[in-house]
């Protein structure tokens, strides 16, 4: 047990900080610890690091440095984007989003609804793709923002962001995308995507936790949600987390440099994992879009095997994955994403999300396929409903 093999395949939850990122960050804890607002040399070191990281992030997504706001993470970025476009002391505003968004978006929208604003939640098809017709039809005179994620964190479906961007532009509506899951897996360029705002999280791309980015296109007027000493051009007050910001800068550069190789590697592992499971296990379905999906996402549902039980048995074999099953959640309901996909009752409780990372190998896939097979068979033998 002590020297058990451990395979991490939960990269949509979080990732290991790359050693190059750690190396880049370390001096900013102990040697160059200054406050970037200070005028002395300590402050200048911090200010230079901040400006360097801003350039790195901007370059990685095709933006200008002044369009980058550093935040505490993806959740804050989503909050700032959505709450930032609701100006004070004005009438009822309308926001359009999708039913499969991350809770950072959905709960921010629900909060704005409680304040009297209006939100339309657009349905998705069986593969998890947002219905563009319904999205366009939901536009109102007071619509100020469309927020649709680039790629889904549970089932990996990639949304038609370019098309949504064109709809938003045509109707003079701001467009925000949560790109937390897509950076480092597929190309993310703010002009290609046609977005006004874009959220990034550092810890999903082998950077440290506690830091993120909101890209805000020049000319997009939003208001801050955190007030104080007017850091980040007044858009996000609070002394900058310099080590974290240096970390996300480095992580973004690495994600960009390694994008082609990483995504090819992950896709090979993904496709092999999916096809081998389908060959060796009956009564299984792939959740999410078969082709328009992140190269690192495998989301499967098994009949007669419950998600949390599979997760725990795999964990005993040293494999870390996640599930959208009801029993693994505090609400005791199947995940809102799986529930929106029209998955049959027999399958919805048996979901497993395997999210690959650049560090995984084909050898890992061999072990996971074997272990998953054993796990599903064991649970089916025990199951009261197996055929």
């Amino acid at each position: 047990m002590d020297i058990m093999k451990r395979i991490y395949m939960d990269h949509s939850a979080t990732t290991r900080v790359d050693s190059l990122v750690v190396d880049a960050m370390l001096p900013y804890f102990s040697e160059m610890f200054g406050n970037s607002s200070s005028l002395h040399s300590f402050g200048m070191e911090a200010a230079e690091a901040l400006s360097m990281a801003r350039k790195q992030v901007a370059e990685a997504i095709g933006a200008l440095p002044e369009e980058i706001i550093f935040t505490s993470g993806g959740t804050e970025s989503d909050n700032l984007a959505i709450r930032g476009v609701i100006p004070h002391n004005s009438g009822k505003k309308h926001i359009i989003t999708s039913v499969v968004e991350h809770p950072a978006v959905l709960n921010t929208c629900a909060y704005l609804e409680s304040l009297g604003h209006e939100v339309s939640y657009i349905q998705v098809d069986g593969d998890g793709v947002v219905d563009l017709g319904k999205l366009e039809a939901s536009i109102r005179e007071n619509t100020v923002l469309i927020s649709v994620m680039h790629a889904n964190n549970e089932v990996g479906t990639i949304q038609p962001i370019k098309e949504i961007g064109q709809i938003a532009k045509k109707n003079n509506i701001y467009f925000h995308t949560d790109a937390v899951q897509s950076v480092g897996k597929i190309p993310v360029n703010v002009d290609d995507l046609g977005v006004d705002m874009l959220s990034i999280s550092s810890h999903k791309i082998h950077g440290p936790k506690g830091v993120g980015v909101l890209y805000v296109r020049k000319g997009t007027t939003i208001e801050p949600i955190v007030f104080g000493g007017n850091h980040e051009n007044g858009m996000r007050s609070g002394t900058e987390n310099i080590p974290g910001i240096v970390g996300i800068g480095k992580a973004m550069i690495l994600a960009k440099e390694r994008l082609d190789a990483d995504s090819k590697h992950m896709q090979q592992m993904r496709d092999s994992l999916i096809s081998r499971i389908f060959e060796s296990v009956t009564d299984v379905r792939l959740n999410g879009h078969p082709a328009q999906r992140l190269p690192n996402n495998v989301n499967l549902s098994f009949k007669y095997a419950e998600g949390e039980s599979m997760l725990m048995l795999l964990d005993m074999k040293g494999i870390a994955v996640s599930t959208g099953s009801a029993c693994s959640s505090k609400s005791l309901k199947a995940s809102h994403v799986l529930s929106s996909l029209n998955i049959e009752d027999d399958y919805i409780h048996g979901s497993l999300r395997i999210s690959l990372g650049r560090e995984n190998t084909m050898e890992d896939i061999d072990y996971v396929v074997e272990s998953l097979k054993e796990t599903v068979l064991k649970l089916r033998e025990m199951s009261a409903i197996s055929s």
Binding site: E306, S309, M312, D345, E381, S386
Partner: protein, 122 residues
């Protein structure tokens, strides 16, 4: 986090299966709920001589099924009917907060099996 006892029962559940010529069978749950528990019993001289379960469900559903069958085995019908959810949770050394939804299902299935036995032996 689950207790060691829960993990032990879950990974090595006792009494898995179904009794061919059972004296009573109880089943509870549906695929919509995500838990189905089937318990069958063999009764001799008012004592539960054998008991087996088949369960589709989460860690709690499986570990409570195993524990309920452990506790019921060798008990008289009246002793088995007197078992309550607390006995099961205590025997499992506790369940995490919010995980008690499924914890009563296995006991319910056992009591349905006893009910079934009584109906047949009126």
């Amino acid at each position: 986090m689950y207790s060691k006892k829960v993990i032990e029962e879950f990974s090595n559940p006792k009494n898995v299966g179904s009794i061919e010529d059972a004296d009573g069978v109880g089943e509870i749950g549906s695929t919509i709920d995500g838990d189905i528990i089937n318990i069958s019993i063999k009764v001799k001289d008012n004592v539960i001589e054998d008991v087996k379960f088949k369960t589709f469900g989460c860690v709690v559903a499986i570990s409570t099924s195993s524990m309920v069958t452990n506790l019921a085995k060798g008990k008289t019908i009246d002793e088995a009917l007197a078992l309550d959810n607390e006995d099961v949770i205590n025997a499992l050394e506790g369940l995490p907060e919010g995980k008690d939804r499924c914890s009563g299902f296995a006991l319910d299935a056992l009591k349905l099996a006893i009910e079934d036995y009584r109906q047949k032996n009126k």
